[in-house]
Amino acid sequence: MNMSQTVMVLLRRELMLAMRRRGDVLTVLFFFVIVASLFPLGVGPDPKLLRLMGGGVVWVSALLAAMLSLGRLFASDYADGTLEQLILTPTPPVVWITGKILAHWLVSGVPLILVAPVLGVQFGLSNEALGVLVFSLLLGTPVLSLIGAIGAALTLGLRGGGVLVSLLVLPLYIPVLIFGAGAVDGAMSGLGSEAHLSLLGGILILAFMLTPWAVSAALRISIE
């Protein structure tokens, strides 16, 4: 059996599990919407101010929501023994790890991208900025899942792993936040967002190539 088949089987299984536990997926989505909606309540309804910070707020909320969903990535497989069985398959770990991260992004990243324009409109972002926001999230959220997977793998089986994972992973999310929010800012101010988006794309390629190896090593440590 070849590797793409393994990834397909894994994706099917993960999506099926997500369908049967829709609550988990919706929790993350509602968290995203609520966090983003808190900001106008906190800073006041000044449209100019809201337009200025809209991109950044949506991005920070996406970061926090991604954080929240990381617990699901390996923890349940670890608890019920599925993770051991996956490690013991002949398939190289990087292959199925990539599959798991991809599934995680489909389940918890893609819904955020779909809802983001609605939040953007709330903040009064221009049409162009909305497009850039969606595109930057499209490039950025997979990076959140990829980098987050390292944290999730390292904190497996630890008490208070949820808090630890935020301390480990949030600092690593900073570049994604800077370039993601920067891209939206560029579109709003008319400076252009190409530079930010290309850097975000670069980060995505780099993360895609490197993180599965790091996750594999981290899982090996955690499983002992």
């Binding site: 059996m1 393994t6 089987v9 894994l10 099917r12 299984r13 099926m16 599990l17 049967r20 536990r21 349940s76 608890a79 019920d80 023994g81 599925t82 051991e84 069985q85 996956l86 490690i87 013991l88 398959t89 002949p90 398939t91 190289p92 199925w96 499983i223 002992e224």
Partner: protein
């Protein structure tokens, strides 16, 4: 042939066992015995490659298992403490996905047959969360039927099983060994397999 050479296991400050040697040939059964906490599970995890030994090496057909990872994992089936059964999937889906992920091509009928063989024919499509502990372990054991592995490494396969299942597992083991398979297991229950005298590895000694 599976060989353990001069194996040692250290947990924290404590040495659980050291200078442990054994060989397991085709058609042989090795019973790992010892009190609770004597390192049985650690040994088994070491042998299947989930844990690195503190000292010594594990050889499969004369090669280190780390170096021959793919071929070793293709020929080995591990049954651990947790049955690796997903609560939200049905018994059928659990077994089907487990086999496909392990790279074993299976047909629907084979999966149903294996579950039927372990007495789960009537709850194929029930979500696993509605199954009892013993039934979940049966789902996990049915994987052994489909995996066609040469080497079975089974950690307490007999716990939480009823009398009928105990007999069934022992007859499965007998069948596997007669076909030239190898099995290594820990258990606190007596194992009776006609025509097979198990080797004993006692960790407390």
């Amino acid at each position: 042939m599976l060989e353990g050479k001069d194996l040692a296991c250290v947990r924290g400050e404590r040495t659980l066992f050291d200078h442990l040697n054994f060989t397991l040939h085709e058609g042989e059964l090795l019973l790992v015995q010892g009190a609770n906490g004597s390192g049985k599970t650690s040994l088994l995890r070491m042998l299947c490659g989930l844990m690195a030994p503190e000292f010594g090496e594990v050889l499969w057909r004369g090669k280190k298992i780390g170096a021959a990872r793919e071929s070793y994992h293709a020929e080995m089936a591990y049954f651990g403490h947790s049955p690796a059964v997903k609560e939200d999937l049905s018994a059928f889906e659990n077994l089907d996905f487990a086999c496909r992920l392990a790279g074993i091509p299976v047909k629907r009928e084979e999966v149903k047959g294996a579950l039927g063989h372990l007495g789960l024919g009537h709850c194929l499509n029930l979500p696993a969360k509605s199954l009892s502990q013993g039934q979940r372990r049966r789902v996990a054991l049915s994987r052994l039927l489909l995996a066609k592995a040469r080497l079975w490494i089974l950690d307490e396969p007999l716990t939480a099983l009823d009398q009928a299942a105990l007999k069934l597992v022992q007859s499965l083991l007998g069948e596997h060994l007669r076909q030239g398979g190898m099995a290594l297991l820990t258990t606190h229950q007596p194992v009776m397999i006609p025509g097979i005298t198990p080797k004993i590895l006692d960790l407390s000694a």
